[in-house]
């Protein structure tokens, strides 16, 4: 409730009585009493509000965020900063770091864009696992929540890692369509069978977040290994009916090289961390079988 209505009420009788000089002190007194009461009520309300806010703030979550900045002398030595972020229902790891940045430290740096697990820019290493910040609920995690940049990649600043190597591997498998023949009409569709669509469905969900690549033990030790994401990309096009035969052969040759599918040791790390639930290991295994089939011909 606002303070306006009581004040108006008190002013009206005061105006009436102002003609009567003798009753002025009484009216004045009444006005002052009223004002004092209003002030008291307002103070009380403010105190209540502050208390409520404090109570809300009591429910905080402790996050420890990796900090590093080669350009700032005090941050050249990596460290962890602790923030106590007020918890709200449905809060994600990304929400927490955004809050920390907006309220505590504007220099906290991380990539984020769509906040709905589509852009793939906010993959972090949270409590020992590669996760998508916007898809990970704070309530699912144990405190304190450790948020680190993706392992096995160079850190540029705070939670930002250098993704160049990952993108290079992705480009290495030619992640685009190359059909032998296109339909005659300019606006003609290139149809795909329903069954074939189902086959490549999961592999098309990749958002290039790099979580799988970072989790892969082999990719960490072998810089030339294509990695799960790139092999999944190769699968996505090699298994598509519409792709040209020449290109498919070309693709299989790329992936069956020394640092291709055969580096995969089926540790299932990539499959475990993929935020889009792509069965990466399954796809890599299928490519291995395709590679064998291509080279072993007894008939």
């Amino acid at each position: 409730m606002s303070t306006q209505p009581p004040q108006q009420q008190s002013e009206e009788p005061a105006a009436e009585q102002s003609a009567d000089a003798e009753s002025t002190p009484a009216a004045q007194q009444r006005r002052e009493d009223k004002k004092a009461a209003d002030r008291e009520a307002r103070d009380k309300r403010q105190a209540e509000e502050a208390e409520r806010e404090a109570k809300a703030n009591e429910d905080t979550r402790e996050i420890k965020v990796f900090r590093y900045d080669p350009e700032v002398e005090a941050k050249q030595e990596p460290r962890f900063d602790t923030f106590h972020v007020p918890f709200t229902k449905g809060m994600t790891v990304l929400d927490a770091v955004i809050y920390a940045r907006d309220h505590f430290d504007p220099s906290l740096t991380f990539r984020h864009s769509c906040r709905q697990a589509v852009c793939g820019s906010d993959a972090f290493f949270v409590n020992g696992q590669q996760r998508l910040g916007c898809k990970t609920q704070i309530s699912d995690l144990e405190e304190p929540i450790r948020i680190e940049p993706l392992p096995h990649q160079d850190v540029v600043k705070d939670l930002v890692v250098d993704m160049d190597h990952f993108y290079e591997e992705m480009e290495a498998v030619d992640p685009y369509f190359d059909p032998d023949e296109t339909p005659d009409g300019e606006l003609e569709e290139q149809r795909q069978s329903r069954a074939n669509r189902e086959k490549v469905k999961m592999s098309t969900r990749c958002i290039w977040c790099g979580a799988c690549f970072s989790s892969c033990n082999i990719a960490a030790g072998d810089n030339e290994y294509l990695g799960p994401a790139a092999l999944n990309k190769a699968y996505r096009f090699a298994m598509d009916d519409r792709e040209g035969d020449a290109k498919t052969q070309d693709r299989l040759e790329t992936i069956e090289q020394e640092h291709g599918v055969w580096r995969c040791q089926t540790q299932f790390s990539c499959t475990n961390v993929c935020p889009k639930d792509i069965p990466l290991t399954e796809h890599i295994q299928e490519l291995k079988r395709e590679a064998v089939k291509k080279n072993l011909k007894f008939w």
Binding site: P78, T266, F268, N272
Partner: protein
């Protein structure tokens, strides 16, 4: 990857607590594989020094079996071999693309089965050693 500074345990083996089933299976498979290779060569080395006559061969075996340490190592060898076989079957299924969603369960099954077989074998291996 070239790192200009130490990122602590983030990229080290110190994170073993965060390993999942597939990773443990891989590590155990490598470990048991090396143990079996080591055993194979020890086996050849020991027996090839005892091939001069049937009596010498028998003596060598009896002496070895008389040692408590050898009896205990035999239990260990069985455990290692059984796990390697079971996980090898699991990997065969993985390579064939069968039951990839339950690869973690098949790993746990391998571990439990290995444990059970090892425990069941103890009376046979240890009998008469004390």
């Amino acid at each position: 990857m070239s790192q200009s500074y130490n990122r602590g345990t983030i990229e080290s083996f110190g994170r073993w607590r965060e390993f999942s089933a597939g990773m443990w299976a891989w590590i155990f498979h490598k470990f048991t594989g090396w143990v079996l290779v080591g055993y194979l060569f020890t086996h050849i080395a020991v027996l090839s020094t005892a091939i001069e006559g049937a009596e010498m061969y028998t003596n060598t075996i009896v002496t070895l079996e008389g040692l408590l340490l050898v009896r205990i190592l035999e239990v260990g060898l069985l455990a290692v071999a059984v796990f390697h076989i079971l996980n090898g079957l699991r990997l065969l299924l993985v390579d064939l693309g069968i039951g990839l969603e339950s690869q973690d369960k098949s790993f746990y099954a391998s571990v439990i089965l290995t444990g059970a077989i090892t425990v069941a074998s103890v009376p046979t291996f240890i009998a008469g050693a004390f």
